[in-house]
Symmetry: D2
Subunit: 209 residues, 4 copies
Amino acid sequence: MAAAARLCYSASGVEALLDMEEGEVRRLIELLRERGHESPFEHASFTFAVEGISRACSHQLVRHRLASYSQQSQRWVRGDPGEHVVPPSIARVPEAARLFSEFLERAGEVYRALTAMGIPREDARYVLPNAVATRLVVTMNARELLHVFRLRCCQRAQWEIRAVAYLMLKECRQVAPLLFEKAGAPCEVDGTCPEGWVECPRYPGGRRS
Amino acid sequence: MAAAARLCYSASGVEALLDMEEGEVRRLIELLRERGHESPFEHASFTFAVEGISRACSHQLVRHRLASYSQQSQRWVRGDPGEHVVPPSIARVPEAARLFSEFLERAGEVYRALTAMGIPREDARYVLPNAVATRLVVTMNARELLHVFRLRCCQRAQWEIRAVAYLMLKECRQVAPLLFEKAGAPCEVDGTCPEGWVECPRYPGGRRS
Amino acid sequence: MAAAARLCYSASGVEALLDMEEGEVRRLIELLRERGHESPFEHASFTFAVEGISRACSHQLVRHRLASYSQQSQRWVRGDPGEHVVPPSIARVPEAARLFSEFLERAGEVYRALTAMGIPREDARYVLPNAVATRLVVTMNARELLHVFRLRCCQRAQWEIRAVAYLMLKECRQVAPLLFEKAGAPCEVDGTCPEGWVECPRYPGGRRS
Amino acid sequence: MAAAARLCYSASGVEALLDMEEGEVRRLIELLRERGHESPFEHASFTFAVEGISRACSHQLVRHRLASYSQQSQRWVRGDPGEHVVPPSIARVPEAARLFSEFLERAGEVYRALTAMGIPREDARYVLPNAVATRLVVTMNARELLHVFRLRCCQRAQWEIRAVAYLMLKECRQVAPLLFEKAGAPCEVDGTCPEGWVECPRYPGGRRS
C-alpha cells in the first residue's frame, strides 16, 4: 500500500519503491490519513467470517455496497429459530426475556409445521423473526473498512452492528496495526461528531463539531 | 443516451448529436444491445417507490449494489405485523394459512407487549417475522436494471422478488419502451439459459445453452 | 430526494410523503447535510456534456468511479491537435506560448503524415499530446457530485479540472439550488482544510483544521 | 472462495466449510462459472504493478471502475518522453518509425525547454504525447478480472491493452490456476462472440453467436 502511494509521486519503478523501512511506511500512512488521500488504502483487502449475527444485523451490514458478501440462504438452508440473538435490553427484563424466548420457540414450531405440510423452505421462512442467526463471508478493502468503522463504531449505531464493527476492527488491528491505528467513530479518530445526538453516552447533551 | 453513444464515434459536438430521428435512435440502441456495449445505458436512471414487499424480499433487493436505496427503518418506525406478505404456497393450503395468520397476529401481540414494557423499537423488532411489509425508494440506471431483470425475472428467482422485478419492468416499458423492449430473463431476451434447472416450468428437464 | 429521506423515519406511504412544503424540504436537506446522512442525495442524478477539455483533464475526471462516462474515442475519431487547451502559465509567457503552439502544429503534421502512410488512427494517436481536446458525457448523482466538488474545487486541484468542477457546480446550482447551496472545497463548505498546503493562495502558510 | 460459495447453501459454520478436497473445490468453481454465479469470485483480489504502458493505454485501463488504482502523476513526476511505447504498425514502417521517433525526441526538448522557463510540470506535461510511458498499481477482484479479460483479450480490443490483459491473465493463472482456467475473450471461454467484427482475424466475416 505504501509502495503504491509512493508510486504516484516518484519516477522509480515499483520494485525499488517496495524497499522501505518501517518508519518510512508509518510516516507515509500517517500523512495519507491526515490529508484524506484514502485511495491507496484500497489495495489491502480483508475477508471476514461473520457468524451468529441476527438477520436484523445482516440486513444493515449488506447495505455497505463497496464490499462483497456470501450469505447463508434461508431459501435453501433449513431455518432454525433455536439459533438466535437476544437483545440485551430484552435479556435484562425477565418478563420480556420469557416472552421473547417463548415466541422464538413458537416460531420454530410453526416453521417446522409448515415445512411438514409441504410448504417450501423459501416460503416457510416468512415466519422466521429478525432475531434468527445467519452467517456471512464479507470482503472489504481497508478504505471501506475505515468508512464502515466511522459509521458503525459510533454510539448512535445499532448495538449489534456496533459490536460486529468492534470485533472486525479488533481483527484488523491484529493483522494490520498501522492501517487501523486510527480507526473507529469520528469522536475517537479526530475528535469530531456529526451526529449531535443528545442521548449519546459519550457526549451527553449532544456535542457537535 | 443515444447522443452519448454517438459521441464516442463522432467528431461532432453534443448539441449536434442530440438531433436524431427516432428511427436512428432505435437502430443505435439495438446495435449497442446486440454488441453488449452497455455503458451508455447508464446515463438514464429511474427511481421507484416499492411498497408492501416483505423484509425477506427487501433483503434480497438491496444486495444489488450498483443502486441507491432509502428504506423504512424498523429501528425508528413502529412495526406493524398486520401489514405483511403471505406466500401463495401458504395461502393455498387452508391449514397452513391459518397457522401463518395466527402466528403473525401473535408477533404483533409480542411486539406491542415488549414496547409496552419499555423495550425500544430497535430491539422489539427482533421478533418481527420476514413476512412483515416494508417500503423503499430505489434508484437504478438502465444498465443495472437490465442486469437485475436478467437475474430476477428468471423462473428460478424467488417468487416475490420476481413479481417486483416484473412490476418494475412494466413501469420501465411505459416510460422508456425502446430501452426495455428486450429485457427480462436470458430465456426471453436471447433464448439462452445459464441455470439448467430441471424443475423450470419453462424448460422442464433443464435446458442449458 | 426529501421524500426518500423521510421514508426512512415514517410510517406513511411514499405518495403522502411527496406532499411537502418547500420550507420543510429545505430543513430536511440541511439536516441531512449537517449529519452527513448523504445516501438520499444519490436519488438525484445529473448528466453533463463536457466539451473542449484536454485529455490530461479527462484522464483525471474519469478516475471518479461512481459515475458514468461516454468519451469521444481517439481510436475511431480523427484526431485534430488544432483543437487543444493552452495552460494559462504557458499563455502568459510569449516564448513558451510560441514553442507550445508550434509543437501542437507539428503534432498535427505528424499525425496526418502517419495516417497518410496507412497507420491506423488508433496508432497515429500515440503522437497526440495531452493538450488535445476531447468531449465526454458524464452522469453522476448528487452525492458523488458533492464529493467531486470537495476534491476538485480545492485550490490544490489541478487548474483545468478545477475550472470544470466550478462550471459543473454552477449548472447544478441553477437546476437544484437547494442541493448545492453548500458545495465546493471543504474550506468553503465547512471551514476545514485537510490539505495543509503551504502555497495555498487562500491559506498562505497552510492552514490545517 | 469455495468455502464462501458453500456457505450460501449449507447449515455448517465457516471453519467446517474450509475443509474441502481439491477435487471438490474444482467441481464447485466449475459449477459457479457455468451457472454465472459470479459473486463468490469477488472474495479473491489481486494486485498488479503495471509498468511501461502508454498513457493511451492507462486512460483505457482506469475506465474499469470496480478496481483500485495508484498511478504515477505527471503533475509531480518529471516527464520523460524518452520512455515511450511504439505501436507495432509504426515500428514496421521505417519512414513512420523515423517520424515517430523524431517527434518523441522533439516532445522531450519542448518539455524541458518549458520547465526551464519556469512552467510548472503540471502544465509542461500538456505537450507530452499519448505514447509516453506510465506506471500503475492496480487491484481487482477475480470477478472483475474475468470481466476485464472478456473485453480486453478480444481481438477487437486495442492491441496495447490486449497485451496488458494477456500478461495479467498469465500472472493470474500462475497463482490461481483454478479460478482463471476458463478466462479470456468470449470466443475462447464459451465459443460465443457478441462483436460480429468482419475484420476479426479469428472469425473472418464476423461470426456472431
